[in-house]
Structure formats: structure tokens, C-alpha cells
Symmetry: C2
Subunit: 335 residues, 2 copies
DNA sequence: AACCTCTTCCAAAACGTTTCGGATGACATT
DNA sequence: AATGTCATCCGAAACGTTTTGGAAGAGGTT
């Protein structure tokens, strides 16, 4: 039933033996182990997690801390990430808890409460920033953590990231190859590493191809993309291609383009990043890039478990390639 | 420091007194309480959650079980729901854990593991279905739960829902009022209660206004909306208005409309539901409906806590009004 | 002085698990 | 017959908290 004691009593064995039988120690006779396992099965015995956590000093919980900014939060990406991470953790008997923490002066308080209250064994940090006090803090106190995304942080830490630099470099060169001579980049706030990397890749491609390359930065939302594209298109010689940091920005940019009577994919090329569901159904369909989000979630889970086990974060860095998805908004090669 | 024992030793008090001082019992002298609180503050004492959970028999965890179907999962709604629910629970010292469970024969296994392992104090069930074995199971074993969305379930249970029936009734009447005589409804799978209610509201409006009203059902995704709209528009006399169960479907429908050379908002009116971020930036902007998702999350949290406290679910039912957001895709009144 | 009331404190048990350090026999070895 | 080895098993401690059921003393009342 509910406790090891009851199970032991029922079997005429000691608590110790039952416990060790269930945990598969070599310490117990095969016949006994089977008897115990059978009894556990029929009575539906489940170890009390609070008790085992107390005794083992582990919570069997990994926590993902999500940035709570309303605008930046509602990206479909995260839900898929949560799903894949949670599933992988569950395979190991771990639970995934979720907390929201607003970036700002009180951000670390949330982490402290979590850690000092021993409410979690490891933390998954998402939406990393170039200067990220969270990585500093977690490293200093030696608490196991894994980051989704990189940071300008000198000490070794575990992370999984997409190769946004290469992806945006390649995408920009692709646009140049199609004949575009004025290419604009709608950048996300460069405090975020992902935004910085994508911008760097774009800038490198512009240097490589000897094109000017303009950049306008705004928030990584539809509204931000709309504003940034507005600025971009108000110029005397507006760009003929817009490389956008995210699909959300690209969808916003599309509206700005339409309002000026231009047709995306014909008058102006547009590329996004993330492959959100709406991207395939915009008008025209949005060319975009996709990173393997489910695999990323699984790797984050595995790394978190490894860090809990004491593994060295030095060996736990992974940068995944990003897949380019050409769609109508990319347009054709131009004369 | 880390334990009550150390704190007590340091203060020359018993563990009991320190514990009771921290919990605010009237049992301890004011001076002592303040001394204890001060010491707890400076040493940064945090109670060990596993120990308190074991002793109190509560996990201080609420679990949200998300449907893991890839297509249905990535709705931005859920992330906002998670955020608001989690924040409200955190105010009460509760954590929110998340697990994914595929609907199907093994779905209840996930619930059983959760409950029998005492890994959670309450469950939040989302995306309810008309016939929902989960509600039956949870009610039968008397486990505290709260549903987001209703179900055809005879016994009392706690839920928060939007009034999709009224919303779709009103939206359909609004279309009729604009002069539309052939109105189509792109329905989501009617096994889901939300889909059934929206469809019922639509059907009632058709009866009220004496219009035929056609319905095509498909999955609640962009692809589903695209297919359903294709069927709808292939008819001899296609509808002049499409009321879609979700924004995702509506965005898919828009593509089908475009491909037939029609212009949404001029040749055909389109309405969605959810107000996903992309809806305001589609071409034309998508008229939609919005339910107060953050408030819903908070209420779910509060109800879950109340259920844990033993409150009767009978009094815990809440149906919120849905706000209509007219946008360009609604079009003008027609001669 | 005896009794009662109140305030303030505390010892010890309990929650259910894991694990340390043996105990008990059976059997083989010397 | 003493010793050693091996396979099984178990008692008891420990994890850190909450809570029960008082104890000790101060002060008031009769």
C-alpha cells in the first residue's frame, strides 16, 4: 500500500530488505526480490517522494526559470521546450517545475529562494543575456545549472544553443547572392545573446560581401518588427531585403511593408527565425530558420541530470545548426 | 544557517520554540520571536522543503498536465497561463510543476504516478474533453483538481472557462447583422468541450436568425483551418463569412481564401478566437475574441489551493465573458 | 499557604525513506 | 574443531521539520 513498513509487514520482511529489493541491490536473494516486486506491483506501492527526498538530500526536481516579460514570453517555442525537457526528465523520475522571474533587481531573489529552500536540484536558465548575473551567481555558489543560449561569461558552464551567428551569416549571404545590394537587419535587443549573435552573423556577411548593411533594433515582437521596419523603409534608399531576428518581428515587418504598398517576396525579401506556426501561413509565406527545439529540450534535461550527478560543465557545450526554410517571402533572384 | 537545529543552538533555544516563532504562533514571547526572526534573516535560514513536506503530508506543489499533442500544444495561450498560475501559487509558497501526457490509453497512468507517488497536492487539467476520463478518475479517488474548461460530467467539479457559447453566438449574430446570409463555421474537433461550445453557440445563432449555417470540422491548427476553408469554399455557393474556432484555424483559412483570389475583409469576413500575437499582424488584421487568460490562471491557482484546503468544488465554477475585437478581417456591412 | 491561571518554553515522537554496520547461518577450507 | 567465506537479511540511525502534551515559573486569588 502506501508505506514501505506496511509492505514489509505484509511480506514478513524487514523494511531494509524490501527497500533494497526494490532498488535492485545484489544484496537480496532472487526469490525474495521477485516476491517483493510482485507485492509492490499488486498493492500499487509508490515510494513517498518527500521521504526519499529528505533522506537522499535530492529533490528530484529540475526548475526552468522563464522570463516573465509579457511581450517576450508568449513564444510557442517555449512550450515545446518545456514539453521535451519535461518528458526527458520524467524518464529519470524527475519532475520539471516552472517559475517566472522578471529580469531586474529582484531576479536573483527568485533564484535564492529556490536554491536555499532546496526546492530544486538544478536550474535551467533560458533567454540568456550577454551580461548575465544569473550565471555569475549560480557559478559562484556552485549550483548545478544549464543554460539555453550562451553568454559573455568567462567561466565554463553548460549550454545548448543554436548557431545563430552562422545562420544569419549564411542567410545574409544568400540574400546577397540573390542580387540584393541593400540589406537591412531588424535586430532584437542586443543585451540578449541570441540577438547579438544573429546581428554579428549579419554584420560579418556584410563585411564579407562588401555591402553596407543597415541595422535597426527594437523589441523581439510583432510590434517591434513593425516599428523597426517602418524606420528602415522611411529611408531615402530603403533596403530590398529584411533579415529579421525572429518570426514575430518578421510578421510585424510584413505589415509595415504592406502599408507602404510594397509586396513582400516581390519588392522586398523577408526572412525570419523560429518557424512559428503562423509563419507558414502568412502572406506571403515567411522564409525562416528553425532550430531543433525538441532535441534541445532533451539535451538540456540530460545536461541538467549530468550536472546534478557532478559532471564537469566543461564538456557540456552544444551548438546546433539551424535549418533554413525558403518560402515565398524570400523572393526570386533579381536582375 | 541550513537547519532549525543549528539556528536553535545558536540562539540557545529549543527547536520547537524556533519553529513556532517562525510560524508566528502566539505561544512565544514577543521578544523571543523577534530575536528568532532577526537571526533567521541574517543567517538566511530557509526551511527544508522536503522535511516539511514529509511531516505535513503536503507537497506544496500543484501540477498542470498539458496535452502533449505536438500540433495542439504550441499555443501561446498556455505559456501565459503557466506564468499567471505559477505566480499566484508562488505567493502561497507553492510550486507549479508541469507534465506532459499524451491523450490515449496511457494518459491516466501519468496521473496515477503523480498521485500515488504523492508528488503533488492538486492537479490542473487543461483542454478538457466532453467525455473526460480524467475528471471521472480524479473525482472517484477524491483527489483535488481544477479544470480549465468544462466537460459533460455530471458530478460537481471546479472549473474556469470562457463563455465560448455566448461568444460564438454573438459573433455569428454580428455577422448576420452585417448582412451575411451564408455563414460558415470552421469547427475544432468536437470531442473538445471548447470546440463543442463554440459550435453550439454558432448553431444557436443560425437558428435564431433563420440562416442555414454550414460547419466543417478539422484540427485546431493553421493546417486544419486551411483544409476546412478549402472544403467550405469549394461549394457552389460558398459562404461570405467564416467564423473560426481558433485564430490558428483562421490564419489557415486566410491562406485558403487568398489562394482562391478572394480578399478577406472585402469578399469574405473572417473571425477567429484567442487573440494570438500574430492575429493583429495578419493581412488583413484578424478580428478575434479574447478571454482574460491571466485572470484565468490566477483563478485556477486560487481554486486549486482552496481544493487542497478541502473546499467544496460545488461553489467553484466560473465562466468568464469573452471580449470581441473587431479588426479589418471583419469587413463592412454589405448591401 | 494552597490553588489556579497564564505565559513561555521544551522533549520527544512522528512523517517514510535510505544506508551503515553488522548478525545469522550455511558451507567450504584448513 | 576451528576458521573463513559467502549469501541474505535486519536493527537502528539519520534526514529536518511540525506538533503533541506537557513542564516551569510568575503572578493573582482565595
Amino acid at each position: 500500500m502506501s508505506s514501505l513498513r506496511e509492505l514489509a509487514q505484509m511480506l514478513g520482511l524487514s523494511i531494509t530488505t524490501v527497500s533494497r529489493a526494490l532498488d535492485g541491490y545484489g544484496d537480496v536473494a532472487v526469490a525474495t526480490r521477485e516476491r517483493v516486486l510482485a507485492a509492490a506491483e499488486t498493492t500499487g506501492y509508490r515510494p513517498n517522494s518527500a521521504a526519499r527526498r529528505l533522506r537522499r538530500g535530492l529533490t528530484e526536481i529540475v526548475t526552468m526559470v522563464l522570463p516573465a516579460e509579457p511581450g517576450h514570453f508568449n513564444e510557442p517555442l517555449y512550450i515545446e521546450l518545456l514539453r521535451s525537457t519535461g518528458e526527458r526528465l520524467a524518464q529519470q523520475g524527475y519532475d520539471l517545475t516552472l517559475i517566472a522571474a522578471l529580469p531586474g533587481p529582484d531576479e536573483l531573489k527568485t533564484y535564492r529562494r529556490l536554491i536555499e529552500g532546496r526546492r530544486t536540484d538544478a536550474i535551467i536558465v533560458v533567454r540568456t543575456r550577454r551580461e548575465d548575473a544569473r550565471l555569475r551567481y549560480l557559478t559562484d555558489i556552485g549550483f548545478p545549472f544549464v543554460a539555453m543560449g550562451r553568454s559573455d561569461f568567462s567561466e565554463p558552464y553548460a549550454y545548448v544553443d543554436g548557431d545563430g551567428e552562422a545562420a544569419f551569416h549564411d542567410a545574409a549571404l544568400r540574400l546577397a547572392g540573390l542580387g540584393h545590394r541593400r540589406i537591412g537587419h531588424l535586430a532584437a535587443p542586443s543585451a540578449f545573446t541570441f540577438a547579438h549573435l544573429r546581428r554579428s552573423g549579419f554584420a560579418r556577411a556584410m563585411r564579407d560581401s562588401g555591402l553596407p548593411g543597415e541595422i535597426v533594433e527594437d523589441s523581439a515582437t510583432e510590434a517591434g518588427g513593425y516599428r523597426a521596419a517602418g524606420v528602415m523603409l522611411a529611408q531615402a534608399e530603403p533596403p530590398s531585403a529584411l533579415l529579421c531576428a525572429t518570426d514575430s518581428m518578421a510578421l510585424g515587418a510584413m505589415r509595415a511593408v504592406r502599408e507602404r504598398g510594397l509586396v513582400a517576396g516581390r519588392d522586398i525579401a523577408i526572412i525570419g527565425h523560429d518557424n512559428i506556426p503562423a509563419a507558414a501561413f502568412s502572406d506571403p509565406a515567411l522564409a525562416t530558420m528553425e532550430l531543433p527545439i525538441a532535441a534541445t529540450g532533451r539535451r538540456l534535461a540530460e545536461m541538467a541530470l549530468a550536472r546534478i550527478g557532478g559532471a564537469d560543465p566543461r564538456d557540456m557545450t552544444e551548438i546546433n545548426p539551424v535549418e533554413f526554410l525558403p518560402r515565398a517571402s524570400l523572393g526570386e533572384a533579381r536582375g
